[in-house]
Each structure stands twice: as C-alpha cells, then as structure tokens.
Symmetry: C2
Subunit: 100 residues, 2 copies
C-alpha cells in the first residue's frame, strides 16, 4: 500500500466519519431512487448550505454521484464502490500475516 493509497483511503474514511455525513449516507442507503438535496435536509441537523457542503465532500470522495435534473440535483449512493473499499480494508485487516 503506497502512501498515496493510504492517504486516499484515509480521506474516504474521514468523509464517512462525520455524523451528519454518515447520516446522509445511511439515508441514501434506504432510498431506491436518487434524492435531491432538499429532500435530504431533514436527516441531519444542518441547514441547506451545510447539507450542500457535506454532499460536495461525499461526491469528491466518490461516495455519492450527482445528476443534474433541471433545477434540482439528484444524489445517489455509489453502493458498490463504497462497499468494495470497506471490504478491501476489512480483508487486509483480518488477514493475519504468515509466520515467516
């Protein structure tokens, strides 16, 4: 694992490791269809601008995707991507090194 990979992984975990952002992720988890930002406002204790900023961070980390639809933006969770990252780390952690 290169330092850059490690940094990238840390950034992903940091993005997930904030209460309001994790709330947003969990909320998106439960939605079949993409949700717009206003709709997501009530799942965390910040105003619209705060939600916007949190969604921006989640987007930058590849955790969610945005699709512009008229004046709204639809956010959806990149389920496979995030799950893959978490499982890769879990695998690495659980793999006890061979006794050499």
């Amino acid at each position: 694992m290169t330092p850059a990979d490690l940094q990238q992984l840390a950034d992903l975990l940091k993005a997930l490791g904030e209460t309001n952002r994790l709330s947003l992720v969990c909320r998106l988890c439960e939605c079949e269809k993409p949700q717009n930002a206003m709709c997501l406002c009530d799942c965390c204790s910040v105003d619209a601008s705060g939600v916007s900023r949190h969604l921006k961070i989640l987007t930058q980390e590849g955790i969610v995707s945005v699709e512009r639809k008229g004046r709204t933006r639809s956010y959806s969770l990149n389920r496979a991507f995030v799950a893959r990252r978490l499982r890769d780390l879990a695998d690495r952690i659980e793999l006890t090194p061979e006794l050499s």
Copy 2:
C-alpha cells in the same frame, strides 16, 4: 440504526480516517505479534507523544488493545472487531432496499 449507533460508527470511522492513525493500523496489520509504542513510531510522521495520543484514540475506539509488560506496552490490532464493523457497514450500504 439508532442515532447513538450512528454516532459510534462515525467515531470509529473518524478514528481510522486520519493518515497517521491509519498508518499505525496498517502497520499493526502486518505484525504477527503485539508491538510496543516506540517500535511503531517510525511508521508515521509524528513524535512519540503523538503516537501515544493516536494509540490512545485507537484504543478508546476498540480498534487496538494494549497489554502492559513491564515498562513497555504492547499494542495489537483487534482484527475481528474492526473487520466486522467495516463489513456490517458494507453490507448495509450494498443492500438495496426492496421496492415496496
């Protein structure tokens, strides 16, 4: 998922989501045997006091365990615990809700 559970999970992810702490975790990953703090110092770019503080946070979150041995302390990674938490989240994220 209760707000308390969510907060707890966020705390775990936050603990993992800092570069130097994640370095420590990855380093412990590769060790068969518990390591003392001094031995872990060279895997991240902070001095002994910084390592001590990071290990304290990791311990508080249950990510690592400590065992006192004389004047040294041996740290080991709680592999099963961390892997379990990460996989649980991955499962939750990947489970698309049923169309109702």
